[in-house]
Symmetry: C2
Subunit: 229 residues, 2 copies
């Protein structure tokens, strides 16, 4: 059996905050006893805030290109400028949506630059290096508790050809994001040829069943009982 | 807290089998006491088998079009023929993969026609009407136990721009697949503009953390503790 436990009561995160310590403290207050091999799923927005990856839109100098794209999409030109700066290339512009490939290589709407849960007039960028962010939180949890957990940084993304957003992993530490099962056999002994499961994304989606996206203030969860490498 | 409980010990499913009854019996053997508001996630392959949605490849008469596509992709021409018959249109052909829009409107590789876990020389098609399949299983569980559960039919799919497959919902009954949160407020009182979460997909992904895809023989799971409408 797998358990998904919300980590409630995490206070508002500010620049310079120690996300690992905040999670540990919240777990203690909530009576969640962390264990080795737990997986901690953390919403990117608190990581971005702690790392100072938040910009004041008023400080943004808007380029000609951003102005044009803003006119085309109906978006705030400052928002568009931040999206462009976070991107490697534009994949598609349609309606009010700009799909880009981010500097990390993620293809997503608005380069993951979010105006929600960050305060009026501000935008939260994705963490610069989400795998590294995950590793730092993981190391911090190990330092504070002696426990070996895995950490996933998650964000909600839309999907081409599919309605609604789901939570995906944008970074992780302590577990292999892809489980390559090619070469294993099916029930009839037939070899699996294309079976690579993105367990990191499935764990992130599972976590969003308890992680709030509106005003719940539950930006993290513990997944327990999933055996990973 | 949410729990994901594997339903182990489900025997091989054959044409005409009663999936609802099979699930109930397996739960009883495993000591899983189903409750109102549990969500039962069922892998499409056992639904397709029970509904007889399996074809013998030797019986398939291959069209010219399928032959050409088979040559292009290196696939078995009979497999390609079944893919084409299950599809409304071809979205993309690249390498060994044929992406189509199925008759249901799903955009996925090979129209979801699977050669795994179905026996040599056979192919399992997606259920004809997965929402209806989910409803029948749900009704059957209600008839047998008096319990009101939700049912999701799931399948693993790849994603554009993203490595690895994840489990998604291809049909459901008893819960709203999309949770429309537009109009709700974020932590700072800012209105959410584009927040529609596909909880059905997140539940399906969560279930795959315990559902086996190779030779485990665990084609279903119970998710407990998720509050849905």
């Amino acid at each position: 059996m797998i358990k998904i436990i919300p980590i409630r009561g995490i206070p508002e995160v500010k620049y310079g905050d120690d996300v690992g310590e905040i999670i540990i403290n919240a777990c203690r207050r909530e009576g969640i006893e962390l264990q080795d091999n737990d997986i901690i799923v953390v919403s990117q927005v608190i990581v971005s805030k702690a790392e100072g990856n938040v910009v004041n839109l008023d400080d943004i100098i808007v380029s000609k290109h951003a102005e044009q794209l803003a006119a085309l999409t109906g978006k705030d030109p400052r928002h568009v400028e931040v999206i462009l700066r976070s991107s490697r290339k534009i994949v598609k512009v349609k309606g009010g949506v700009i799909i880009t490939e981010t500097k990390h290589g993620l293809v997503c709407a608005n380069a993951g630059v979010d105006l929600s849960n960050v305060g009026e007039g501000k935008a939260a960028l994705l963490p610069e290096d989400p795998d590294k962010s995950a590793q730092q939180i993981r190391n911090r949890i190990r330092d504070l508790t002696g426990l070996d957990v895995a950490v996933i940084i998650c964000d909600t993304h839309g999907r081409p050809f599919r309605r609604g957003t789901i939570n995906i992993a944008i970074g992780c530490s302590g577990l292999e994001p892809l489980w390559d099962r090619r070469g294993e056999k099916d029930l009839y002994g037939r070899e699996l040829r294309s079976k690579v499961t993105c367990v990191a994304d499935e764990l992130a989606s599972a976590a969003e069943l308890v992680i709030g996206q509106a005003d719940e203030g539950t930006p993290a969860a513990v997944i327990r009982g999933y055996r990973y490498e």
